[in-house]
Symmetry: C2
Subunit: 334 residues, 2 copies
Amino acid sequence: MKVIMAGFGTVGQGVAKVIEEKNSSIKKRLGEGFEIVGVSDSKGAIYNPEGLNLELLLKIKREKGAVISYPDVEKLKSNEELINREADVLIEVTPTDIESGRAVDDILYAFRSKKHVVTSNKGPLTLNFKGLNEEAAKNGCMFYYTATVGGCTRMIDVGRGLSNGAAIISFQGILNGTSNYILSRMTDEEAPYELILREAQQLGYAETDPSHDVDGIDTACKLVILANSVMGLESSLKDVKIEGITGISEDGVKLAKSDGKVIKLIGEIEKSRLEVSPRLVPKGHFLDISGTLNLGLFKTDFAGDIAIMGRGAGQMETASAILGDLNKIISQTR
Amino acid sequence: MKVIMAGFGTVGQGVAKVIEEKNSSIKKRLGEGFEIVGVSDSKGAIYNPEGLNLELLLKIKREKGAVISYPDVEKLKSNEELINREADVLIEVTPTDIESGRAVDDILYAFRSKKHVVTSNKGPLTLNFKGLNEEAAKNGCMFYYTATVGGCTRMIDVGRGLSNGAAIISFQGILNGTSNYILSRMTDEEAPYELILREAQQLGYAETDPSHDVDGIDTACKLVILANSVMGLESSLKDVKIEGITGISEDGVKLAKSDGKVIKLIGEIEKSRLEVSPRLVPKGHFLDISGTLNLGLFKTDFAGDIAIMGRGAGQMETASAILGDLNKIISQTR
């Protein structure tokens, strides 16, 4: 199965690594493996219908910083040119961008040229969930985005599986590892937000610009995707009531702690109401997860309450969720 | 889709209730619903190709104690006769029996007469996992048994989903609600095993004969099914090293507690080693779940550690898992 990949940052390189590692066992199990025939990054794109050498590709990206330094392949200028080339699947792993519609256009273009799409990019799904899914269906293409919510916990699949035998009444989740890390450390250290944020940035748990994480936007995007894909809503970002963690003071955390509680950034879906806000959770409650973990709690009519927990982010975790989606495509096209 | 059901105890009646409640929404979503055309219990079987009235069926079972009191239908003497009648799916929900091969024979017979099978019965899967799955494949039939492990948590599906994108290295779980309830209460109350067991029996959390639960056999059966269905092993009950909770003393529980620990009955799979035994778990560790909850923890190579938690048993929870399996069959036969 021929694959092209738009984006070759942390996630894209992770995908190349897992494919390199797992391809022979996938071939053995499913009769067919994956061949990466094209890749792009911000500096340009390359394509070789015979397939790229992944070890070499990773080395060149690491040493030269751009995939166009890969020798003896066709060089292309845009994702659109790349998507135009022959392949079965587009993996869209450019950074999440909820303002421009660039990734939306790339994915729509892929469907129109009859390519299945797998993405970890919350941007296009937040901007145009319905349009993308409709275009996929119209062209007989598969469209998977497991990595967008809760990473390797496969929260979307768990929710869909549940909804097969029960009605999901509500969802509560901790979906952003960065803000959960900051809140956990503020509680443990009784230290102010700014200090813990700087520490998290130094340790690589927070970006240089952490605004989407700490303002609740990242959690809100994930809620929109989950609500639309699992609970059948047609929501968008403007429907989410959002409050982040930047206003939480050292004193607020201490006060909660003295009362046996912790502050958590909770994303909640109930009927058509979507909300992201800091909430008080009793210490030891199972929403009281620490560090960079993610947790999703589905309340259902007949199946009771189901919780799933795991690492929500990380290069190999995200790549593993993408590989799972690729394997779904292979299984269903054979 | 025509369904016959072998067994009409707590689980079977739950299935009738969820089908009654959800059938119209399933028809709307998938274009087809379920018609229960035959049912058996220990006193006999009934069949009506036009379908049974589920409300009446539940009332008759409740008031007369036997489905053969249902009016104006064909009465049959055995499950075999029932399975011989025209239908698309057999739901096998007789009580788990790991000694006799009766349910194995019924399921094999269903496959040979080209019926898909859904079961909540751990017995046949523990006794002859490979033979049943091979016979299903040979006859082009689907075979689902989500309800056998972790009930509504759909632990088998979660494990299979994970293994699509990562290798599962090991599994640890709390898979028996009764023994977990007893251990939790022994810790909270600092009371002896016998006293708490009697209390659990009065509250309906333990059977009159609780031996399979407290001896670890129930957990061992679930481990075998999980190991074979998710991790590709070919294990059977005799491969499991089993120690139950009956030997745990009040003093042992107190000693653990004074050391900040709790005793939990843990089922573990690591490579080809399967083991059920009481283990010390630090208080507050996420294996420290209380009451009748079930929890499964998958350790993977690329997707980190993933935990799933929910109610492992209960009439409607089990029925909901069975309905999920039925919906998988409808989706794949359309």
